[in-house]
């Protein structure tokens, strides 16, 4: 025991090495025991912010390529009020300017307004409305369409198309000749058949 001469003082005990808390360890002496350290939290938050920024940039890039304004020629026109049109008649006042007929149905047929686009479905000529024969007739090859536009004679393969309609705030009929309905099944939709308000 006392064999070793006390020539050198015993070495001072080394201080306990610093061990940062690893993810799974919990220091029971701490009051707040969260499942992450400050370092981990900040790192996560930083990456999260970066990814959010990146994601936002990508979304912005996608939104960028969707135009807000196009330079397509206007296709929406106002056609006057429904009362300006005689029920049961095919009105050709806009045929020259917009290539359409406006038809207001008799009350017995529904009383609504629809617009037919004056383009023959055979090769694109402009047909005429023949009131005496109650049909639309194309001068180019003789295609015939009944009142309402269904093809029944000549080479036309499909009925005349109808244009999309809406009622503007000032009560006028608003037509969009750029959007047309080919299928008669779509003709009863409110966008194709403007019913008078009750």
């Amino acid at each position: 025991m006392n064999d070793i001469p006390p020539s050198t003082p015993p070495p001072a005990p080394k201080p306990a090495p610093y061990k940062p808390l690893m993810q799974k360890e919990v220091d029971e002496s701490k009051v707040w025991n969260l499942w992450f350290t400050r370092r981990e939290f900040l790192t996560l938050a930083a990456w999260g912010a970066f990814l959010a920024g990146l994601g936002g940039t990508l979304l912005a890039a996608l939104r960028y390529v969707i135009p807000n304004v196009t330079y397509d020629p206007p296709t929406v026109f106002k056609l006057g009020k429904p009362e300006d049109y005689v029920a049961g008649e095919v009105d050709g006042r806009w045929k020259q300017k917009h290539r359409i007929w406006v038809i207001r149905d008799l009350p017995s047929l529904g009383g609504g307004i629809y617009v037919i686009y004056a383009r023959c479905t055979h090769l694109g000529c402009t047909p005429n409305w023949l009131p005496g024969q109650n049909k639309f007739k194309c001068p180019c090859h003789g295609s015939g369409f009944r009142f309402g536009g269904i093809n029944f004679e000549g080479p036309a393969p499909r009925p005349l198309e109808r244009c999309r309609l809406a009622l503007a705030e000032d009560g006028q009929i608003q037509v969009d000749i750029g959007t047309r309905f080919k299928n008669p099944k779509d003709w009863t939709k409110p966008e194709a058949y403007l019913k008078a308000k009750a």
Binding site: V65, I66, P67, T70, Y71, D72, G124, P157, T179
Partner: protein, 510 residues
């Protein structure tokens, strides 16, 4: 040697030992093994190639040089394309007339334009053949699956490059081909205004995004120009770099071929290799063996394209006229197969669902094919199912293209390839077509699905087990969709059935 010759030699030596020369050309050009290695190693472009390569990799009957030629054509197209950009303005007022100027007043204009167009068509063809070639020699099996996926994306980019370029001449062919193509985008489910379950309007659907407008016009032209000249080539370059890098990293797939007698005995190359592992280490220098053959292949390709470009003028029809639809209006040839499918399927199916399934199916191939045999050489005997299904798909694809391109005339009526198109031929009657009643249709579809999905499990037990539990269902799903196309064609042509199931309220028809 005469005095002059001595002088010339001295000058040459002086140049070659000068600091300037030696800073650029780091090694000599004597044909030593060291220099052969250095030619590859010390060159930034060539060092994508390995210094030494197995002799089997050099044989042109392995890859047919298809990948290399596709890559070469990309650069030829870039070069000719950049030159064309000096004279072409992507505006509605100028595009067509600039094409006319290229044809009539630009020096070598017609030649450049033609070679650009013909190279584009050839590149699309070659990438499809390259994909087929990689499939047939199983060069997509582990560890090369990822590279196959990158390749499929490159295929898609090639199609898009060709499609965006197709619009730029702004003639009738261009505007209507793109109209057909973008109308298919409008048929996308959910995101297309005319597709099933649509949640968008024509003012903000996929088609509007592509064209920047409801019409095919100036904004569409400009977008396609930017896509064609900048975005898509950049994407291609980035991905092709990854693609070539992976070819190196995964070790080029060609394996040594057993000698005649062994092959005649029916010995599998894999077995033979196990018995002769030393064969794998037998290599030859890339410079000059591979590089010379690549160079000559590129030269031959250029010569053929030059001849074609001098003789055949690329088409330029009338100025684009949105009010006059030509009859027929066809998509570019590589999409005309899908357009042909429109006879049998609704646009959302033929133009969106089926192409998506084709792409997804292609991408899935390496992950579904568990057969380890055949890597690095052409093998049919040991991979009958895979080869049959792929070949069937390939034949169907090119068959549809053939019908759509050569056998469809005005009104998309059927014409024999030698028949003259008659604009006044009465349209074939669709009066006889009828739909299957929905009840019967559901039974039919379920029966068909059940047959394809369940029967193989009973009839080909070992094969089915080999695919794994998930793999089996996925593979059979794709087989089911692939076989569905001729079923629909048969139903329509033989039984005059238009739709098997039809729910008009949702615009849903199969």
């Amino acid at each position: 040697m005469s005095k002059l010759q001595v002088k010339m030699t001295d000058i040459a030596r002086a140049i070659r030992t000068s600091p300037i020369w030696r800073s650029i050309f780091r090694h000599g050009y004597q044909d030593t093994p060291r220099n052969r290695a250095l030619m590859i190693l010390s060159n930034v472009f060539l060092h994508i190639l390995p210094v030494k390569v197995r002799p089997s990799a050099i044989r042109y009957r392995y890859t047919w040089r298809l990948g290399e030629m596709s890559f070469f054509l990309f650069w030829l197209l870039t070069l000719t394309g950049v030159l064309l950009m000096f004279y072409y303005r992507p505006t509605v007022e100028n595009a067509y007339w600039d094409m006319k100027d290229l044809r009539f007043v630009v020096a070598f204009g017609p030649f450049l334009r033609n070679i650009h167009r013909w190279s584009a068509h050839v590149m699309v063809l070659l990438v499809m053949f390259h994909m087929a070639s990689v499939f047939y020699r199983s060069a997509y099996k582990p560890p090369r699956e990822y590279n196959w996926v990158v390749g499929v994306i490159l295929l898609l980019i090639t199609f898009l490059l060709s499609f965006t370029g197709y619009l730029l001449p702004w003639d009738q062919l261009a505007i209507w081909a793109v109209t057909v193509g973008t109308n298919m985008a409008a048929a996308t489910p959910f995101l297309g205004s005319e597709g099933p379950f649509s949640i968008v309007t024509p003012e903000n659907d996929m088609r509007f995004l592509l064209l920047g407008s409801k019409l095919v016009g100036q904004s569409g032209l400009l977008r396609f120009y930017v896509l064609h000249c900048v975005l898509l080539p950049l994407a291609f370059v980035v991905l092709v770099s990854v693609h070539l890098w992976r070819v190196r990293k995964d070790d080029f797939s060609a394996i040594p071929v057993p000698p005649e007698e062994e092959r005649k005995k029916g010995v599998l190359p894999e077995t033979w290799l196990k018995q002769n592992p030393a064969e794998l280490d037998k290599k030859v220098f890339t410079w000059p063996n591979l590089v010379s053959r690549q160079f000559v292949s590129a030269l031959v390709a250029t010569a053929i394209l030059t001849a074609w470009s001098l003789i055949g003028h690329a088409p330029l029809e009338e100025l684009a006229n949105p009010n006059m639809t030509p009859n027929p209006s066809k998509a570019p040839w590589y999409f005309v197969g899908l357009q042909e499918l429109l006879v049998y399927f609704d646009p959302w199916m033929a133009g969106v669902v089926l192409p998506t399934l084709i792409l997804v199916g292609l991408i899935a191939i390496p992950y579904l094919d568990k057969n380890p045999l055949g890597i690095g050489y052409y093998n049919f005997k040991n991979r009958k199912f895979a080869v049959t299904m792929f070949t069937y798909g390939l034949v169907l694809w090119f068959g549809l293209i053939f019908v759509g391109y050569y056998m469809r005339g005005p009104g998309w009526e059927l014409y024999m390839p030698w028949e003259k198109w008659d604009l006044h031929r009465p349209p074939s009657s669709t009066a006889g077509l009828h739909n299957m009643p929905n009840g019967l249709g559901t039974v039919f579809l379920l029966g068909y699905g059940a047959a394809v999905m369940l029967l193989p499990k009973k009839l080909f037990k070992k094969f089915s087990e080999g695919l794994g539990p998930v793999g089996y269902w996925v593979v059979m799903f794709f087989v089911m969709t692939m076989l569905f196309v001729p079923v629909k064609i048969l139903l329509r042509n033989a039984f005059a059935i238009k739709y098997i199931i039809s729910i008009p309220a949702f615009n849903f028809n199969i």
